[in-house]
């Protein structure tokens, strides 16, 4: 399409995390899809270059097809393991080490959950695990809340990226606290990637307009009626929000200003 052709000329610096660069600023989770074919189609439509995966026991009694590697080509997408389901620093560290052993990456999306009902992070455990794992050479992408102070400590602890939530995981409530997200972005040097809570395309767009470096989402796409179309919508919305941020929006005025010239009217 002509317009996307143009977008090619509108360069944006790549998303840099640790030692890697990515053109897309959208990261996708791979959970909760009705089937693997839909998952792959949605991931493709999203234009993402990074997908998250979880570390779980092999089910020895079921078909071996369950492993996500049977469906996702690691040459095509960068696999980012997470520590979802871990409630202590110790557990998260254990899962991170197992994930690294798989041999794909020393990156880890670090989650230390503090409460089962809300899946909100336990920032004390998160900071402890970040210090340990960063010390072991992991590239830690830390899932955290909207608290600036914790974000600053995560950066100091060696996190490669800080991932504040928009709203609780799987809630679809959207960006509850743009002010705090903007605040975090304004104070950190490492990339800020908003993680969790996005529900629809405009949530992704308004999130990127805050100036953050990227977004991670899963349920908004997997639980849409048409996941593949929603994935495309998220692809476009993330780019739109980024371009709008870079373009510099018009000033807001509480008055009207005509778009057509006032001169040259007839008598």
């Amino acid at each position: 399409m002509a317009n996307e052709g143009d977008s090619m000329k509108l360069v944006d610096e790549p998303l840099k995390i640790a030692d890697r660069e990515f053109e897309s600023r959208l990261i996708l989770g791979t959970g909760k899809y009705s089937d693997n074919e839909t998952m792959v189609k949605a991931i493709t439509a999203s234009g993402t270059e990074i997908v998250t995966v979880a570390v779980r026991r092999i089910d020895l009694d079921r078909t071996k097809e369950e492993g996500v590697l049977y469906h996702l080509n690691p040459e095509k997408w960068f696999l980012l393991p997470n520590t979802a389901g871990c409630y202590t620093a110790e557990d998260a560290i254990r899962y991170a080490r197992l994930a690294r052993e798989a041999g794909f990456t020393d990156w880890i999306k670090l989650e230390v959950i503090g409460d089962e009902a809300t899946l909100l992070p336990d920032v004390e455990g998160l900071l402890e695990a970040t210090r340990t794992l960063a010390g072991e050479g992991f590239k830690v992408l830390a899932y955290t809340n909207e608290d600036l102070i914790t974000a600053l400590k995560l950066e100091e602890a060696g996190a490669a990226a800080v991932m504040p939530l928009a709203s609780p995981i799987g809630s679809g409530l959207g960006l509850l606290n743009p002010f705090h997200i903007r605040l975090i972005k304004s104070r950190l040097s490492v990339p800020v990637i908003v993680d969790a809570g996005v529900g629809t395309a405009s949530d992704a767009c308004v999130t990127m307009e805050q100036g953050v470096d990227g977004i991670l989402m899963n349920t908004a796409i997997a639980a849409a009626t048409d996941p593949v179309r929603m994935a495309l919508a998220m692809n476009q919305a993330t780019r739109a929000g980024r371009h709008a941020y870079l373009a510099g929006r018009m000033p807001i005025r509480e008055q009207a200003v005509p778009s057509s010239p006032s001169a040259g009217m007839l008598d």
Partner: protein, 73 residues
């Protein structure tokens, strides 16, 4: 001196299982029909690197975790 004919009981992914005695980790994976490249092995809470699959022999009562990547966000 030859106990390999006997079976032993080990805990794999939380369940007790009978396996042939004397298996190395590589042998165990083969026994379970698992593809080495897609599994990570934790043996008595200690990760076993792939280059040590032949060095570690599973003994009765050992606790083994076999994990891989699944879809997750």
């Amino acid at each position: 001196m030859d106990s390999t004919n006997e079976t032993i009981t080990v805990t794999i992914n939380g369940d007790d299982r009978e396996i042939p005695g004397g298996l190395t980790v590589r042998g165990l994976l083969a026994h379970l029909g698992l593809q080495e490249g897609l599994v990570v092995v934790e043996w008595n809470r200690e990760i076993v690197r792939r280059d040590r699959y032949d060095d570690v022999t599973v003994a009765a009562g050992d606790s083994i975790e076999l994990v891989h990547f699944v879809g997750g966000g």
